[in-house]
């Protein structure tokens, strides 16, 4: 069992290997399809993103509404593959940690190796379990996107499996066939 604190320390990130069970504790950004599209449009125009990728990670997720007395609703991962067209660009701009579910395109895994990143898989469909790992939630940008808004979470012992590590190793199931 490995631990990843976010924002990460270089040494800790590099100690995590493909196949490891990884618990994330710390601050985790959340963005999915529309956030990626907007980030790409900003970068294409030469603009500045609303967040700094340095030391941070992004989780592909769109929560259900929080019931009364809860910080967040169900919040399990969505399919990473839909972010594949955008991920190499994000990695080239400093993103290092991606959290989602399912296989990635070869180009994404190549970019993970090139920029010494991590691709972590969260447990698909386990939205209620993940809600119990979220201590705090805030909207960072794009509230008009509803469940697709850019969020920042504070998570504790958020369970994942490392699919692709910073040395370029990955599990066979990490690649899209």
């Amino acid at each position: 069992m490995a631990i990843l604190h976010l924002p990460f320390e270089e040494e800790e990130l590099k100690s995590i290997k493909a196949g490891d069970e990884v618990l994330i504790t710390g601050k985790l950004y959340v963005g999915r399809d529309q956030v990626h599209l907007r980030f790409k449009e900003i970068l294409d125009r030469g603009g500045n993103l609303p967040i700094d990728f340095e030391g941070n990670g992004i989780y592909y997720m769109g929560p259900s509404p929080a019931p009364d007395g809860y910080e967040i609703g169900a919040c399990g991962p969505t399919t990473s593959q839909r972010m594949d067209p955008f991920s190499p660009l994000m990695l080239s701009k400093g993103l290092r940690v991606m959290v989602g579910k399912g296989p990635r395109a070869k180009a994404v895994l190549d970019a993970v190796e090139k920029y010494h990143g991590l691709y972590l898989q969260a447990f698909g469909g386990c939205g209620a379990l993940y809600a119990s790992c979220v201590k705090k939630k805030s909207v960072v940008a794009y509230p008009e996107l509803g469940p697709e808004a850019l969020l920042l979470l504070e998570v504790e012992n958020f369970p994942t499996i490392c699919m692709a590590d910073s040395s370029g190793n990955y599990l066979p199931s990490a690649i899209f066939v």
């Binding site: 196949g19 069970e21 997720m61 769109g62 929560p63 259900s64 509404p65 929080a66 019931p67 009364d68 007395g69 809860y70 609703g73 169900a74 919040c75 399990g76 969505t78 399919t79 593959q81 579910k101 399912g102 296989p103 898989q121 447990f123 698909g124 469909g125 386990c126 939205g127 209620a128 379990l129 809600a131 119990s132 509803g146 469940p147 369970p159 499996i161 599990l171 199931s173 899209f176 066939v177």
Partner: protein, 288 residues
């Protein structure tokens, strides 16, 4: 109780609590899985089932699209407009009260504007001979898995081999994407769209049940075995529990064709049923 209230109650539970047949095969998979990563995924799934059942949280943030398969008895009272009004009301208020994520857009290509109500549902009807009731079968159809569903129009002479190969190929392409272990519905025959509908009807069948025709039962057993030999496994991370239940439904078709449809459902196989005794024509109806 008003019909829309019975529907609402069934759907408030369905988003948090799995049907008994589904939970049973998931817990059994955890007992049998030999792959260590596959077992880890199943452990998290079982923890998640327990958290959702004891909280106000849905099992999954993708609370799905309402899909309704309506069995209408040929002796049932039946007013389609009145029935659909109750279905819409029940779906909308359950989505609100049980904190469903709003996941439906009113226009698929251009605006993609959220309906904010989880409406409309997808509704299909089937006439049932010898019955005086109407049964509403609901699926909360998640789209991580639905994106792996598809139809193939195979050669009419391809036979059982062709059907099995088509389904296996579709599942291999799906891999870990639909949140395995999955529940599968297969529709064969009819037209392209009829096969697709039958694959949804097949998903409604109880997990672990068999087609009464022994040839289709054998096909279901063969498919289950061959899919579970592919080593996709829970979460796509390897293991022998890729598919926990598969049902095949068939219909007459054309001499020139053999449509094969596969509907893929994730492990969170959320279902509900409401039986309306005597049917529904707009007056208050008893339900069970």
């Amino acid at each position: 109780m008003e019909l829309n209230k019975s529907i609402e109650n069934a759907l408030i539970d369905a988003v948090r609590i799995l049907p008994e047949d589904v939970e049973r095969v998931i817990r059994k998979a955890l007992e049998t899985e030999k792959d260590s990563r596959g077992r880890l995924v199943l452990e998290k799934i079982v923890q998640n089932i327990d958290v959702a059942a004891s909280s106000a949280l849905p099992l999954c943030q993708d609370c799905g699209m309402f899909y309704v398969w309506v069995e209408v008895g040929d002796r049932a009272r039946f007013n389609i407009a009145a029935l659909e009004e109750e279905i819409y009301k029940g779906c909308e208020s359950a989505a609100q009260k049980a904190f469903y994520r709003k996941s439906i857009v009113t226009e698929p290509v251009f605006e993609r504007e959220n309906s904010q109500t989880n409406l409309p549902p997808v509704i299909n009807y089937e006439l049932k001979k010898g019955s005086s009731d109407i049964i509403l079968h609901f699926l909360l159809k998640g789209f991580g898995s639905e994106n792996c569903s598809s139809v193939r129009m195979i050669n009419p002479t391809a036979g059982e081999e062709g059907v099995v190969n088509a389904v296996l190929d579709m599942m291999k392409k799906a891999g870990g994407k639909p949140c395995p272990p999955v529940f599968l519905g297969v529709g064969v025959g009819g037209t392209m769209d009829r096969a697709a509908q039958l694959s949804k009807k097949a998903l409604i069948r109880e997990a672990g049940s068999y087609n009464p025709d022994p040839r289709y039962r054998a096909m279901e057993e063969r498919l289950l075995k061959e899919i579970n030999a592919v080593n996709i496994g829970p979460g796509g991370l390897g293991g022998e529990n890729t598919c926990l239940s598969i049902a095949v439904e068939s219909a007459p078709t054309h001499i020139a064709g053999l449509p094969v449809a596969l509907s893929v459902n994730c492990w969170a196989d959320r279902k509900a049923s409401v039986r309306i005794l005597g049917g529904y024509d707009g007056n208050t109806a008893p339900t069970v």
